[in-house]
Amino acid sequence: MYDYLIAPFAEFEFMRRALVGVFALAIGAGPIGVFLMLRRMSLVGDAMAHAVLPGAAVGFLISGLNIYAMTLGGLVAGFVVALLAGLVARSTELKEDASLAVFFLISLAVGVTIISVRGTNIDLLHFLFGSVLALDNQTLVLIAVNATVTLIGLAFIYRPLVMECVDPLYLRSVSGAGGPAHLIFLALLVVNLVSGFHALGTLLAVGIMMVPAAIGRFWARDVTSMILIAAAAGTLSGYLGLLLSFHTAAPAGPAVILVAGILYALSVLFGSVGGVLRQFFPGRHLEA
């Protein structure tokens, strides 16, 4: 048992690093994912994850695999696309989901093209699926800082964010905090996507955000518990995913998301809030 569950992390430093990275990532991304889901912005998260790619690729083009250059590029590109997509949706007839789909496909194409110009297929794989087993100190610190900033930032905007989700009209009538809160939220989203990008790559970065959030929805009736469950589910997926990858030689990033997917499937079936089993066997109805 020890050999199977703990030894991989006790013996290998890269596994410990990966574990720390994934934990920090899950704790920051889970709460962001919950709000994305509650605001029906899941697709926005996906689009922005892809938007990070060309930015990071430009950083790569200029200074190679330098984490700061790629991070900066990713941040800038993420913000630009977030603002542009909002602008296009607001000022044209195109619905937001359509304009986002367009944006993220273009981003992906541009990103992959740029990387291929300078790098190899290995680099491309690194960009698309991350390198959670090869996190260096700089990257780990970056992910940890991002997670910390996320939690503090969310605490700041928690009230207006919840109010804007439930009753945007009311928030607008009592306070101007809605707009700034939304922008800060988008900023935190981008920050987490950049973290996720380093560990899991552009294609799976949203996974550690959205899948745990979706799991939370099946077990909790209020936002606070949802956030806690999402962070916990992400953390658990990280741990089990790394183990799975270690023992089966499956690629680590996808393994983490795969485990999250399995937890999600179990939640859909057995979840206490709206799970399938509950719906088919709700128990006898109550008297009042």
Partner: protein, 244 residues
């Protein structure tokens, strides 16, 4: 009495088409004013103009020094996401925003206030219920509880009793009267003429333009009502720019 609210040649609308046309007049502080008119008369538009949700096409609204925070506004169709996982208690507590802001704690006194507000609208015992489980009437009661907590000097209610049963609207109208007694200024858009006659001393009859404004009995005459109904509702796409 001094004016709480003044409309100065106010024109409000969408896409240059006026929905409220050259409205002038004033609402005295502490007034209990019903705004009556057919669908499309501009009642909601007027309210949106008052709370600052839309900008006037011309003219302006003078709030006599009230800021947005002193106004409690109940829109006609609240854009509430009823699937959002939040309890009745927490939603009502939002009414305290003016006091708590981003971080202010909710202390014993505030919790008492919330309980009192819930009791006032008859929702005691619903604290832990998710808002998605409420009926239409209970929903409206909950929103009134939040209005109570907002403790605003100007209360603007857009068709607050639509699709609400008689018992609920009677309970809620009691709250409106209580606000009136406390000296707050209240504007309410209503369709139930009997309810207006019974409870509102002053009425503005609106049909894009002001048809009549004053004492309820003198405003709600058969003549005026007919006049209001005849004023057309639709935008004229070919309309010329208004010279006035």
């Amino acid at each position: 009495m001094n004016a709480q609210l003044q409309f100065r040649d106010l024109t409000l609308g969408y896409d240059r088409h006026p929905a409220v046309h050259h409205l002038s007049g004033e609402v005295t502080a502490g007034a209990l004013l019903a705004v009556v008119g057919p669908n499309g008369a501009g009642k909601s538009t007027l309210f949106k103009g008052i709370v600052g949700a839309i900008k006037p096409l011309s003219g302006h609204v003078d709030l006599s020094g009230l800021s947005a925070r002193d106004i409690a506004y109940l829109p006609q169709a609240a854009e509430i996401d009823r699937s959002f996982p939040i309890t009745v208690y927490d939603l009502v507590a939002m009414g305290l925003w003016r006091k708590t802001g981003l971080f202010g704690g909710i202390g014993k006194k505030d919790r008492d206030k919330i309980e009192t507000a819930l009791a006032a609208v008859g929702l005691t015992g619903f604290e832990r219920r998710a808002i998605g489980t409420l009926s239409g009437g209970q929903m409206q009661r909950m929103l009134f509880a939040r209005l109570l907590l907002q403790d605003a000097r100007l209360v603007v209610l857009d068709e607050p009793f639509n699709a609400i049963d008689a018992k609920t609207s009677a309970d809620l109208i009691d709250l409106v009267r209580r606000w009136h007694k406390e000296g707050r200024t209240i504007l309410a858009a209503l369709h139930d003429i009997d309810l207006v006659r019974a409870n509102f001393p002053e009425t503005l009859l609106l049909a894009r333009e002001k048809v009549a404004w004053g004492n309820t009995a003198s405003v709600l005459t058969a003549d005026n009502m007919l006049k209001a109904r005849r004023m057309c509702e639709a935008f004229d796409d070919e309309a010329h720019a208004c010279a006035a």
